[in-house]
């Protein structure tokens, strides 16, 4: 029976098999996307640098060197020191560590929760969907930073406050995009085919639909990390973020403000670090959008 149809219909040679070979894999597409490569290189550089902070940072970021305050680049301090004699290079690295860590971690919960709730709402609709979307509308209606600052005041300064503040507010964007994508996918023939094939709805939802709808969320998460870092920087600038003496780019910029006339690099260097990281992550996100598209 297995060969009966094929040979009788003469189907064997109609439509050559060479179309199947030579499919560009994800890896190769990644390599060919200039945006992705640029973003990946920039991000990897930053991540590598901050991960290796204990190795390449020459001093503890809180170590004082009262003999050489506000010094320029030298053999002793590659990027100079701040007003308390703390090594700028080490502070940049350790500050980056903190900022990136917070950036990534603060996005994890919103991503997971947002994608989950968005998928469920988009697929099932009904009252749950209506209720959740009202909550989303309310959260989105608030000016973001005002909300963050208010929450930080309530919950307390420091990283905990940031995690909670983002956890409560950031999930809505993921929920919305995933919900839209799910609603569109839900009506497609291949979903109907999967359901008609006797697969459970749970299975169809998480194994079939989700891989198709999660792309936008992944891409957005890259920009989201940038947003979080900027928020941490802003909070640090306001004194509401990472508390001294632990370094972070935001407080470094704040501290450096007083010295803009004389020792500009104290504020500019962390600024450059923020911009570089931001661009790298954005390009990575853009590149991912290209690479993950199923053509």
């Amino acid at each position: 029976m297995s060969t009966a149809l094929a040979s009788s219909a003469g189907l064997g040679d109609s439509e050559a098999p060479q179309t199947v070979a030579g499919r560009p894999g994800l890896g190769s597409r990644a390599l060919h996307s200039p945006t992705f490569m640029a973003g990946a290189i920039m991000t990897t550089t930053i991540v590598a640098l901050v991960v290796l902070a204990p190795v390449i940072g020459r001093y503890s970021p809180v170590a004082l060197d009262p003999l050489h305050p506000l010094s320029g680049p030298s053999g002793l301090h590659w990027l100079g020191t701040d007003e308390l004699g703390r090594d700028t290079w080490s502070r940049l690295l350790y500050g980056g560590r903190t900022d990136l860590q917070v950036g990534f971690l603060a996005v994890v919960f919103p991503f997971c929760f947002g994608v989950f709730i968005g998928t469920v709402c988009g697929y099932f609709g009904g009252r749950l969907d209506a209720a959740v979307m009202r909550v989303v509308d309310v959260v989105l209606a608030f000016p973001f930073f005002v909300l963050i600052i208010a929450l930080v005041f309530v919950v307390g300064v420091g990283t905990h406050g940031i995690y909670i503040a983002f956890g409560l507010t950031d999930w809505v964007v993921y929920a919305r995009t995933t919900r839209s994508a799910t609603m569109i996918a839900r009506n497609l023939d291949w979903v109907a085919a999967a359901e008609g094939g006797g697969l459970s709805r749970t299975r169809v939802l998480w194994r079939h639909i989700l891989p198709n709808t999660i792309t936008q969320a992944i891409v957005y998460s890259m920009s989201d990390i940038v947003i979080v870092i900027l928020a941490v920087v802003a909070l640090g600038y306001l004194g509401l973020g990472i508390q001294p003496p632990a370094p972070d780019w935001g407080s470094m910029i704040t501290d450096g403000q007083s010295f803009l006339q004389s020792d500009q690099w104290l504020a500019i260097l962390p600024g450059i670090a923020v911009v570089f990281t931001g661009i790298g992550l954005s390009l990575l996100g853009d590149g991912l959008a290209d690479v993950l598209r199923p053509e």
């Binding site: 003469g10 040679d13 109609s14 439509e15 050559a16 179309t19 060919h32």
Partner: protein, 333 residues
């Protein structure tokens, strides 16, 4: 007499991701005043791009590499900037697209869209162009034109929308109507109405027609001349009835053998072996040769072009005569 429309050696390049290929590769044809030509081909044959290139409406991914377009003896330059706007001779040509819903402006009334060309291109007053639009609505068979004038495209049915598209195409008073699969998206009973409308308009206005389609069953009703396209080239041309009755290119013969006809259900449709080649990697020589039963080594190594194979007939096949003999044999089913 000079043909009304002459197209010579049209080449259109399409850019796809990082590669480029010629979607239209040297297409030439001419159209007499009042005549109709059907161009038939499957997906990827380049037939739609040919029309768009002539009209200067190529998508961003497409580029006209070379070719001449001559209308009424005047040479046009479809590659020039501004060709798409207000070129006098270009107004003698209009195009009708396949999907009226996406080709019409969704936020403008149909009347407004029909009146646009008379107002802004022919320079009529607002009142006169409105009158013109009403008249056109009537001519394309839309009942109750006063009321329909203010309708939006999505409020109309598919057939009516297509009539609106035809009205828009007629509004600049063209001599040539280019139709890109105008009835493919319509139900078959509506299709007959639209084809009848086109035939009536041809008769009344002396319009010339270039009709692009993939449906061999329709070409006989629409046009006296037929051209068959494959991978960006014309492979056969000639009077429609003759080409359909006795094709001189194996691809045409293949299409006819694969097509189903409601009157002959017992004839088994035969698929053309192989599949459409990737346009970025076309076979050498005659692009059809890997799928052709008559192919010889020569076919893969010679650049085959359209040659006359009879009075008024051309075919791009080295074995065209052999094909004719095979078909004349009494065993043909």
């Amino acid at each position: 007499m000079t043909p009304l429309l002459e197209v010579e050696d049209l080449v259109v390049e399409v850019r796809h991701q990082s590669s480029a290929f010629r979607a239209v590769n040297g297409v030439s044809f001419s159209l007499e005043r009042g005549a109709a030509l059907a161009i038939v081909g499957e997906s990827g044959s380049g037939k739609s791009l040919t029309l768009r290139a002539i009209m200067g409406l190529l998508p961003n991914s497409g580029r006209l590499l070379s070719g001449r377009v001559v209308v009424g003896g005047v040479e046009l330059d479809p590659g020039a900037r501004g060709y798409g706007r207000g070129h006098r001779q270009r107004e003698r040509m209009s195009i009708v697209f396949q999907d009226a819903l996406s080709a019409l402006n969704p936020v403008a009334t149909v009347g407004h869209q029909i009146a646009e060309a008379p107002r802004h291109v022919l320079g009529l007053s607002r009142h006169a162009s409105r009158q013109r639009a009403m008249e056109l609505l009537r001519q394309v068979g839309i009942p109750d034109p006063e009321r329909r004038y203010g309708a939006f495209p999505h409020e109309l049915s598919g057939g009516t929308r297509q009539r609106v598209m035809i009205a828009i195409a007629l509004s600049s008073d063209p001599a040539i109507l280019l139709c890109d699969e105008p009835t493919t998206a319509l139900d078959v009973t509506i299709q007959t109405q639209i084809l009848a409308l086109l035939a009536d308009l041809r008769a009344e206005r002396g319009l010339s027609l270039v009709f692009v389609t993939h449906d061999l069953g329709v070409v006989g009703q629409v046009a006296e001349e037929l051209a068959v396209m494959y991978t960006g080239r014309l492979v056969e041309t000639g009077p429609t009835a003759q080409v359909l009755a006795a094709p001189r290119h194996p691809y045409t013969a293949g299409l006819l053998a694969a097509a189903l006809d409601v009157d002959t259900p017992d004839r088994e449709p035969l698929a053309i072996p192989g599949s459409l080649p990737d346009p970025r990697q076309l076979p050498s020589g005659c692009t059809f040769h890997p799928r052709c039963a008559l192919a010889t080594l020569e076919c893969a190594t010679t650049d085959v072009v359209l040659e006359p194979v009879g009075p008024l007939r051309q075919a791009a096949c080295l074995h065209s005569d052999q094909l004719a003999l095979l078909q004349a044999a009494p065993s043909r089913g």
